[in-house]
């Protein structure tokens, strides 16, 4: 038995970790059958309890990290489940290809990206990760292999995309990559001083800019000031790019501080400085894709900064019609509770509906906030935020969640009833027990 935590470090639980290394399907079939019920575990980047199965089995897929095929002519990539997005980017970017959708970290596995149907800053153009998956090879714990995709057994495909690992063990994924002119983006940053300004900036940017995102200072300004960023891939010649942004050595957080570095005393000055620094920045810069897409990947284990009690991430999506009002209410609750968040992201999603039955993205506006775990006060705040989300007919992101109540889950994910039929009875997670079983 081994202690395993999820990214939020809210607590540790003993697991029987089964390291999968033999990629042969017969071998996998056998291992899975010997360790039921279990749950696939990739790189442990889910914040809450989606990747945990306390006192049970975890099928660790990190050693199943081989590419199966890559065709640089058409950008078709086949790989094993434990391949990291980082591996894919490093292989394909120099060849002019890239993952069409990538979340805020590249340190997640392909199967994790599928199981959480992750999204990125370009949702209004490229949708979510699942929109670029051509085939999933799924191994059920009863030994059956299910090959599914958008046109083949599409019901299984829709259940598995965003299905938080509950429909079977993913043994292979086929992706369709996109062309990029370079590894560089032209990024424009604009400060905004309230939410209506944010929405105006978003609306204006979406037709012309592939990537849009904003950092929001949830403690400052009238109804949330922030920095809005829009970016497009740039065509640059190889040797004209500023090399300063590259090859920075990753830094590590060497220990877990006894208390959270992010607390009510540090937060306001942090946010003020961050806002002020970014306001001073040149409005238009050339940025390598790594610092732009993965601003925190260079700081290993940044989650330790929140101290021994860990942290929650609260990410919601609210339909656009009530988006501004609900977001503003949520920010007000946060300010009043004297808790806050440094890594706060506010972003609009495009109109594309997600394929997955339990996929998170839907047309509207999404707000993601990190909160140091202060126990009851933090949970109480979440309850108040929940009621705003509930009333606005929004939903919370399973990849981030560690505590939402069942009724909010059921209300937010109406296709749950459909999903249940595709559950693998040999798979169980802390999340499935909390929300479904």
């Amino acid at each position: 038995m081994r202690s395993v935590r999820s990214w939020g470090r809210l607590g540790e639980a003993k697991h029987r970790v089964v390291a999968l290394s033999n990629a042969k399907e017969n071998a996998l079939r056998h291992v899975l059958a010997e360790s039921l019920p279990g749950l696939a575990y990739g790189n442990g980047r889910s914040y809450g309890d989606a990747c945990l199965n306390p006192n049970g089995n975890l099928w660790q897929s990190r050693d199943l990290d081989h590419f199966v095929a890559f065709d640089p002519e058409n950008g078709c990539l086949v790989c094993e489940p434990g391949v990291l997005l980082k591996d894919i980017m490093e292989l394909t970017v120099p060849l002019g290809w890239m993952l069409p959708v990538t979340p805020g970290t590249q340190m997640i596995t392909v199967a994790g990206a599928v199981a959480n149907d992750v999204h990125g800053k370009n949702h209004h153009v490229y949708g979510s990760f699942g929109d670029h998956v051509e085939r999933i090879r799924l191994l059920r714990t009863d030994g059956e292999i299910i090959e599914c995709g958008p046109t083949v057994r599409s019901d299984w495909f829709a259940a598995t995309l965003g299905g938080v690992g509950l429909t079977g063990f993913i043994v292979q994924v086929t992706l369709r990559l996109r062309r990029v002119p370079s590894a560089w983006l032209e990024v424009e940053s604009k400060p905004y001083f309230d939410l209506s300004e944010f929405f105006a900036l978003s609306d204006k940017a979406e037709p012309d800019w592939e990537n849009t995102v904003s950092w929001i200072d949830c403690l400052g300004g009238g109804s949330g000031r922030g920095i809005f960023m829009q970016a497009n891939f740039a065509t640059v010649e190889g040797d004209t790019v500023p090399s300063t942004q590259l090859a920075r050595k990753p830094k590590k957080i060497p220990f877990v501080p006894p208390v959270s570095f992010i607390n009510r005393w540090s937060l306001k000055p942090f946010n003020n400085i961050y806002f002020w620094l970014n306001r001073q920045k040149k409005e238009r810069i050339l940025s390598h894709y790594q610092p732009f897409f993965y601003p925190l990947d260079n700081l290993h284990d940044w989650n330790k900064l929140y101290g021994p009690s860990g942290f929650y991430q609260y990410q919601s999506v609210i339909p656009r019609e009530v988006g501004q009002e609900a977001t503003s209410e949520m920010l007000r609750e946060i300010r009043q509770s004297d808790q806050g968040s440094f890594l706060s992201v506010l972003k609009t999603f495009g109109d594309r509906r997600s394929v997955g039955m339990l996929s998170f993205p839907e047309p509207g506006v999404t707000l993601a906030l990190d909160f140091p775990n202060r126990g009851k006060v933090t949970l109480d705040l979440f309850e108040r935020l929940d009621s705003i989300v509930r009333q606005a007919r929004g939903r919370l992101y399973l990849a981030k969640d560690a505590r939402m109540p069942r009724d909010l889950f059921q209300a937010g994910y109406p296709r749950l009833v459909e999903f249940i039929k595709y559950r693998d009875p040999g798979i169980s997670s802390a999340m499935s027990r909390r929300l479904i079983d």
Binding site: M1, R2, V17, A19, S21, N22, A23, K24, Q60, D63, H66, F67, V68, A69, F70, P72, L77, L91, P94
Partner: protein, 249 residues
């Protein structure tokens, strides 16, 4: 002429990661993978081919214990182009307790971890001696530096490998044949997964592979990876018995 690399025990995690670094340049390269299981070799070959479209990857089934077939397979491998770099990486992290109680198992462990790698090394040495050049890299282990109760069967095998490589180095001194011994510390591979249950800190296989590739590039004769193990093992080697014997390591 494009570079030719031969890897024995190519499905081992350390070997796979080294090969990934070697093909990552995108340059034309020929790489021959030897191992016992063709299907598993095929998986590594597909991975390497995906990483470098200009790599020519061939796989070959090889017996690890039969001297005659070791000779044959290396003669075949060497029959077209001479090998620039040979990496000998097969091994099993045996079960010490089982080795103590089951002499048959013990015998196989010793052969897999000691006799097999040195026979392969000798087979390559025959060819490298003829052409007068080549680099031969053998994976040993920090465990070979001093016998310890927790894994002396494995350790003794790796110790034999170390002494054998030392002999080869002496034999080829002053020539363009380079023989390198790598001593990885405990590494996070599928072979060692169970150690993590005991809270053991393991080096990532990626870092270990980087260390190996670097040592080969620099041409070190003995390389501990990660480097800190050179110091740790120096201390362990020099501990007087009255202290050493009290340690449960």
């Amino acid at each position: 002429m494009q570079k030719k690399i031969v890897i024995v025990g190519a499905t081992s995690a350390i070997a796979t990661y080294c090969a990934r670094i070697w093909v990552a340049t995108g340059q034309p390269i020929s790489i021959v993978l030897l191992g016992r299981d063709l299907e598993r070799l095929g998986r590594v070959a597909a991975d390497l081919s995906a990483r470098n479209q200009h790599a020519v990857v061939t796989i070959k089934r090889a017996d690890f214990l039969n001297p005659a077939s070791i000779q044959t397979v290396i003669d075949q491998v060497e029959s077209d182009e001479p090998t620039h770099l040979a990496l000998i990486a097969q091994g099993s992290l045996g079960d010490q307790e089982k080795s103590q109680n089951d002499l048959g198992f013990n015998y196989t462990e010793l052969h897999t971890n000691a006799v097999s790698p040195v026979l392969y090394a000798e087979a390559f040495a025959q060819h490298m001696a003829k052409t007068g050049k080549g680099t031969l890299v053998v994976i040993g282990s920090v465990a070979g530096d001093r016998g310890r109760r927790s894994n002396y069967v494995y350790g003794a095998a790796k110790g034999l490998v170390a002494r054998y490589v030392q002999g080869l180095q002496h034999r080829f001194a002053g020539t363009e044949v380079k023989v390198i011994l790598i001593k990885p510390g405990p590494t996070d591979t599928p072979m060692t997964s169970h150690l993590k249950d005991h809270g053991m800190r393991l080096a990532s296989v990626e870092d270990v592979a980087k260390g190996i590739v670097e040592a080969v590039q620099v041409g070190k004769s003995v390389a501990y990876v990660p480097g800190k193990w050179a110091l740790i093992m120096m201390i362990i080697r020099h501990l007087p018995n009255f202290i050493f014997n009290k340690l449960r390591i």
